[in-house]
């Protein structure tokens, strides 16, 4: 079913450009409307008209040349947690139980949660057991965010500037976005009964939109977090790697993972040692479900015809049998 016969597969090029997404979105409901069943699908079709079409714009698509990103240089990070503190203050998050200069938090591997958009974790340096490597973790603001693909209410939005933002007013809390996010980012505030919501880094969208830079990048005393145009950051990262090949491994994490992310990382140790998922495909995750969704109109058009025919054949057989029985009966009467 992944690649359904009878429906041309969207070719790779148009799929990675944002057109791919639109193709998919329109193809599915529009065809359904034609076979409008129970009026249901009319409404689904109508959704195509209503829903904004800029969900998941993709890398390589010339439409967003100004898209921003972040570059974290993990070799520069010293684990001071200034970024955590800055994020906490800038976003008015609740005060954590342990202060930001408490190094004991490094004993556990933490993840972003309902009270923190970002956390820094400590890992043993595989090259030198006495040294540590630190990794800052937060939403990667994917080019084709799986969270946005997953959400049935379109509560996520990939903004033209780059940040992936979430709208609490739409969310009903199914948490499929959490299941889908390949980087284990969205958190849920399970403790709230009335207004639980997804919590995740916004890439300081409010600041970015008005020409500012994200709080964590501003706060980092080591300059480990750089904010800028994603294209420039890629160039910068490449430069850094080629200038000091001993310092860095030759991989920009986020350049290609799941179709690329706005947040990029360079590191001195292989990423799998730092808890980064390394088993991810290079193509956007929405590609995985595209084949299935393109089969939907097929089912809506072929099934009624097929099963309708079966039923018609059955009726025909029944009626023929009945007629035959009746003629036989009549003949019997005649013979008598």
């Amino acid at each position: 079913m992944a690649r359904t016969p009878g429906k041309p597969v969207v070719d790779e090029k148009s799929a990675t450009a944002s057109g791919g997404e639109d193709d998919l979105k329109e193809a599915t409901p529009r065809k359904i409307t034609r076979r409008c069943f129970l009026g249901t699908m009319t409404a689904v079709g109508a959704s195509t008209l209503i829903s904004p079409s800029h969900l998941n714009a993709a890398e390589g698509f010339e439409g967003w040349p100004n898209r921003f990103g972040m570059l974290t240089d993990l070799t520069a990070c010293v684990g001071c947690r200034s970024c955590e503190k800055a994020c906490n203050e800038a976003n008015k998050l609740p005060r954590p139980s342990a202060p930001f200069d408490d190094a004991s938090v490094f004993n556990d591997k933490r993840r972003p949660d309902a009270k923190a958009y970002t956390v820094v974790n400590r890992y043993a340096d595989p090259k030198d057991k006495n040294k540590f490597v630190y990794r800052k973790m937060q939403c990667n603001h994917c080019n084709e965010p799986a969270c946005a693909t997953a959400c049935p209410i379109h509560a996520y939005n990939k903004t033209p500037e780059g940040p992936v933002v979430y709208n609490e007013n739409l969310c009903f809390g199914c948490r499929y976005c959490m299941t889908a996010c390949p980087f284990y980012v969205p958190a849920y505030d399970y403790d709230s009964a009335l207004e639980p919501k997804i919590v995740k880094c916004t890439m300081c969208y409010g600041r970015v939109k008005t020409g500012g830079i994200p709080a964590c990048a501003e706060a980092c005393p080591m300059g480990a977090i750089t904010f800028g145009k994603r294209n420039d950051l890629l160039k910068l990262a490449r430069e850094k790697i080629s200038k000091s090949p001993d310092r860095y491994i030759d991989h920009i994490y986020g350049e290609q993972e799941v179709g690329g992310t706005s947040w990029l990382y360079i590191s001195g140790v292989p990423f799998e040692h730092l808890g980064f998922p390394t088993n991810l495909p290079k193509r956007p995750l929405l590609e995985e479900t595209k084949g299935f969704l393109s089969a939907v109109p097929l089912v809506f058009t072929v099934w009624p015809a097929l099963f309708g025919m079966c039923y018609a054949a059955l009726r025909h057989r029944d009626e023929a049998a009945k007629e035959k029985a009746e003629t036989e009966k009549k003949e019997e009467v005649k013979h008598e």
């Binding site: 079913m1 997953a150 959400c151 509560a155 499929y176 088993n279 995750l285 099963f307």
Partner: protein
């Protein structure tokens, strides 16, 4: 007697006849004191307060409240496990109305009711698990995530629930003796059945397709681009096995609600269903093997998760299939029934494997995270108990296992 008094009297007799099954209140209450009901009451006395707490204090009171494991038993069991077992209505209605397997008539209503309640309770589990269940209609009216597989599932489950209600409505209408409406309901049976086929094929497979978005999280042996087909094909045999399971249970525990047509034909029909289920299992088994071959995952079979995968497909899938085949060949209804229970458990194992047991298999300490808290288990057990009680309530009153005198079959 005044008009009002007559009306009250009419209502009283209607109430006694329909709801108390012809008994007075004290008589009715006395019949309720049975060992089963006492156990049910005990379960509910623990679970219902927990459900209330969940809505007062948030999901954290009954679930793990884990950010890495957003879904637990409520969805793994209730939605992903419940929906394939509720394919009964779609499978039996298709066989009976579209393909003309007329001899299964005594089982069709039971199958439709099993499906209807199965979906209804899948939605109940979902509502318990959603962060803001009062927004359940949002995907239908407020905003549309048309690229989301869950969007499709939401639409289809909602629509199909309505379709099943219409399919089952003749039984309700016979019960309240509404001959005219019943006639209308019967007219659209075929349309509803074909609608049911479309919706079921799509959302059964969509439940599997939901996991396509998480290639990094589902174990590679269970993650396959064929997963929608696996889900669909297993739901077909799951449905046949489930009809056998449910009919076995009602023939045993609600014997007095069934007529001769049902009880007398049951063994013969069970053998027929068993034959179908056996074939369904072989098809599914072959597909699963193809899936491993397609992704060339043979080497993974020789890992701990690989052994568990083999247990699933050999012990929980192939073995019940073989028992079905032997049972049918030797005309041993008991064996077929055993195989059906076994196959149903196998389906649940498969769905739990994908949603819970192997999901996030590569996270450290994974297996410690998947043991559900007792509160969640208690809530699941309570909802399942209410499911059974409602099922029994309906079978006790409406013509499902019997034909209503004066109404022709359809």
């Amino acid at each position: 007697m005044s008009d009002g008094a007559t009306r009250t009297e009419n209502f009283r007799s209607w109430f006694m006849d329909k709801l108390l099954m012809g008994m007075t209140w004290p008589e009715y209450i006395r019949t309720l004191i049975t060992p089963f009901n006492i156990v049910a009451a005990l379960i509910l006395s623990v679970g219902l307060p927990l459900i209330a707490m969940r809505f007062m204090f948030g999901l954290a009171t009954i679930t793990h409240a884990s950010n890495d494991y957003p879904w637990g038993l409520l969805l793994g069991w209730g939605l992903f496990g419940g929906v394939p077992l509720s394919a009964t209505g779609f499978v039996m209605a298709t066989a009976y109305y579209i393909f003309g397997f007329k001899k299964y008539h005594p089982l069709v209503r039971l199958a439709v009711l099993t499906g209807l309640l199965g979906y209804f309770f899948a939605v109940i589990y979902l509502l318990t698990d959603l962060g803001r269940p009062w927004r359940i209609y949002y995907p239908m009216t407020i905003a549309f995530g048309t690229a989301s597989v869950l969007f499709l599932v939401a639409w289809h489950v909602a629509t199909y629930l309505t379709v099943q209600l219409i399919e089952f409505s003749p039984a309700i209408l016979e019960w309240i003796r509404s001959r005219r409406v019943r006639k209308w309901a019967l007219r659209i049976t075929i349309g509803m059945t074909i609608g049911g086929i479309i919706l079921s094929t799509l959302h059964q497979s969509a439940l599997g397709a939901m996991f396509l978005l998480a290639p990094g999280k589902v174990h590679p042996l269970w993650y396959s681009s064929y997963i929608p087909i696996f889900y669909l094909s297993s739901s077909v045999y799951a449905a046949l096995a489930m009809v056998i399971v449910v009919s076995t249970l009602v023939a045993r525990f609600l014997r007095n609600r069934a007529d001769e047509n049902f009880l007398g034909n049951l063994d013969r029909l069970t053998l027929g269903l068993g034959k179908g289920a056996g074939i369904g299992i072989y098809v599914y088994f072959a597909l699963k093997v193809l899936g491993v071959a397609h992704d060339d995952h043979w080497a993974l079979l020789n890992t701990p998760y690989g052994y568990w995968f083999l247990v699933e497909i050999l012990f929980f899938v192939l073995l019940p299939g073989l028992i079905f085949t032997c049972g049918v060949k030797k005309q041993r209804v008991g064996a077929v029934r055993f195989a059906a229970f076994f196959a149903v458990i196998g389906i649940i194992v498969n769905r739990l494997n994908i949603t819970i047991i192997t999901f996030n298999w590569n996270l450290p300490g994974h297996l410690h995270h998947i043991i559900p808290p007792w509160q969640e288990v208690a809530v699941v057990m309570s909802i399942a108990t209410i499911h059974i009680l409602l099922f029994r309530w309906i079978l006790n009153r409406m013509p499902v296992l019997r034909e209503e005198p004066g109404y022709e079959a359809h």
